[in-house]
């Protein structure tokens, strides 16, 4: 029940008692109720579900999250190209370490989840 996607607020209007707006979802514009996101301004991104903006996208946090993702395993030379990554996916299944080959990296048990990415980045 959670089909909600991010769109950019292009215009804020009021439709009688409620605050409405035109929200652009990658070239497709829909009228959306903005009553639940009073802080939203033109140019902001909001997550929209069944015609209602239910949350403002925190863009700074989104970029941070992406940076963390991008940093994961960047030193992994095996995965240099996307094609290799795909080929690797097709090579599954890998056994779930019957020989202990995929044991925890030393520090993984003691690092915070976010730090795991940093470990690979160094």
């Amino acid at each position: 029940m959670c089909l909600a996607i991010p769109g950019r607020v292009e215009e804020i209007t009021s439709d009688g008692p409620i605050r409405m707006g035109r929200v652009n979802f990658g070239g497709v514009v829909k009228k959306v109720c903005l009553d639940y996101v009073p802080e939203i301004a033109v140019g902001d991104y909001a997550i929209v579900h069944v015609g209602f903006a239910i949350s403002k996208v925190d863009e700074a946090t989104a970029e941070e999250t992406l940076a963390t993702f991008r940093a994961m395993g960047v030193l992994d030379e095996e995965l240099a190209t996307e094609e290799e990554a795909f080929a690797r996916a097709a090579d599954r299944p890998q056994s779930n370490c019957p020989d202990g080959s995929c044991a925890l990296p030393d520090s993984a048990t003691s690092t915070e989840p976010q730090l795991l990415g940093k470990k690979y980045r160094q």
């Binding site: 089909l3 035109r22 979802f25 990658g26 070239g27 497709v28 514009v29 069944v50 795909f86 097709a90």
Partner: protein, 357 residues
């Protein structure tokens, strides 16, 4: 929507406007076989479709066709709304039948056009539809040589329904069919998918949205003729993925040919705004209808030739090679996802509904 388009048609520009203007709407008498019906033919259909075979106004059209094997196809059109971004029921009625003939390897020649009109339907709208049919037939190089009009009581129809039947001449040396796909063949599509279905969705009551998405409604016989003259022997299967989208068409081919079809999801061309509209409504572009696209299954050594012929045509600029016919997973369509994993693309059940909930 409908009235907007119709309003731009000026009845007074028709050759003999008076009898039509007398009745601004369809009445039962227009289908009664009397004077009113004759006037409709004489003042609306004839001027729009004019050709020698039609002008005889006999019980049957008589025409010459070079000797050889004929192909025949029929289709009925009930689309709502009647006018939509990029097309209308009129353009669809011509192009749909032209494309069915063309993907069968035939050169479309002659069409019939039958109208079921609802009492009260505005003549101005009918004129607009007929005008679109005339233009589409001209572009496709086909003639409308016979037809029929019936009127049903108000409430028993949906404005207008159109049936078209077409005959075409099969090209010599061409053998295509859904059962002829072979393992190793390349799968090509002539352009972006999902445009028509999302254009219709954008003007459907309750779901409407603003976008630049237009129906891809077009006659493909010119494009297909180019492909067949460049690499006719190498083309094993051609289909136009209309209702049910690319997914249904390729599933049908996989079943008919008893082969597997492997797609690379990332290679399937989809307009960014069509993709966005699909995201918004929870739909999958592979299931969305097209009205001006064809899928080609060709011998692998000719795939590049066919692709460049497609891309050289205005209707095929976005053509792409999207997959391969395989002996793996027979009768199944399997796509490699952008994540590098695989998913089966099943035949849809009925109409695709917005997955909002």
């Amino acid at each position: 929507m409908t009235t907007d388009t119709a309003a731009t048609i000026d009845l007074s520009t028709w050759s003999c406007p008076l009898p039509l203007a007398d009745y601004p709407e369809i009445v039962m008498g227009h289908g009664g076989g009397g004077k009113l019906g004759n006037e409709l033919v004489e003042h609306l259909f004839l001027p729009a479709f004019r050709n020698a075979a039609l002008e005889n106004l006999g019980d049957a059209a008589v025409f010459d066709l070079a000797s050889g094997r004929l192909a025949m196809s029929t289709d009925s059109f009930v689309v709502q709304p009647l006018f939509f971004p990029g097309g209308s029921i009129g353009a669809l009625a011509i192009n749909g039948t032209v494309n069915d003939l063309a993907v069968s390897g035939a050169e479309p020649k002659f069409l019939s056009a039958s109208f079921i009109l609802e009492e009260g339907f505005p003549l101005a709208q009918l004129a607009a539809i007929v005008q679109e049919m005339s233009a589409a037939a001209k572009t496709a190089g086909v003639q409308i040589v016979t037809g029929d009009t019936k009127v049903v009581e108000r409430g028993h129809g949906d404005g207008v329904y159109i049936n078209t039947t077409g005959v075409g001449l099969l090209r010599a040396g061409i053998s295509v069919g859904p059962a002829l796909a072979e393992p190793g063949d390349a799968i090509l599509v002539s352009g972006t998918i999902g445009d028509h279905g999302m254009a219709i969705m954008s003007v459907r009551e309750g779901l409407e949205f603003e976008s630049q998405i237009r129906s891809d409604c077009a006659a493909l016989n010119g494009l297909i003729a180019n492909v067949l003259s460049a690499a006719g022997g190498a083309v094993h299967t051609m289909r136009d993925p209309t209702r049910g989208g690319l997914a249904s068409t390729l599933n049908e081919i996989a079943s008919a040919s008893n082969v597997g079809i492997a797609l690379d999801e990332r290679a399937i061309p989809v307009r960014p705004d069509v993709r966005s509209a699909c995201e918004l409504l929870g739909l999958d572009p592979v299931y969305v209808a097209n009205e001006g696209k064809a899928a080609f299954i060709v011998a692998p050594e000719c795939a590049d030739v066919v692709l460049s012929v497609l891309q050289a045509h205005p209707l095929g600029r976005e053509a792409a090679r999207i997959g391969t016919v395989t002996t793996d997973h027979p009768r199944m369509l399997v796509a490699r996802t952008a994540m590098g994993a695989n998913r089966v693309i099943a035949i849809p059940v009925g109409e695709q509904l917005p997955r909002i909930c």
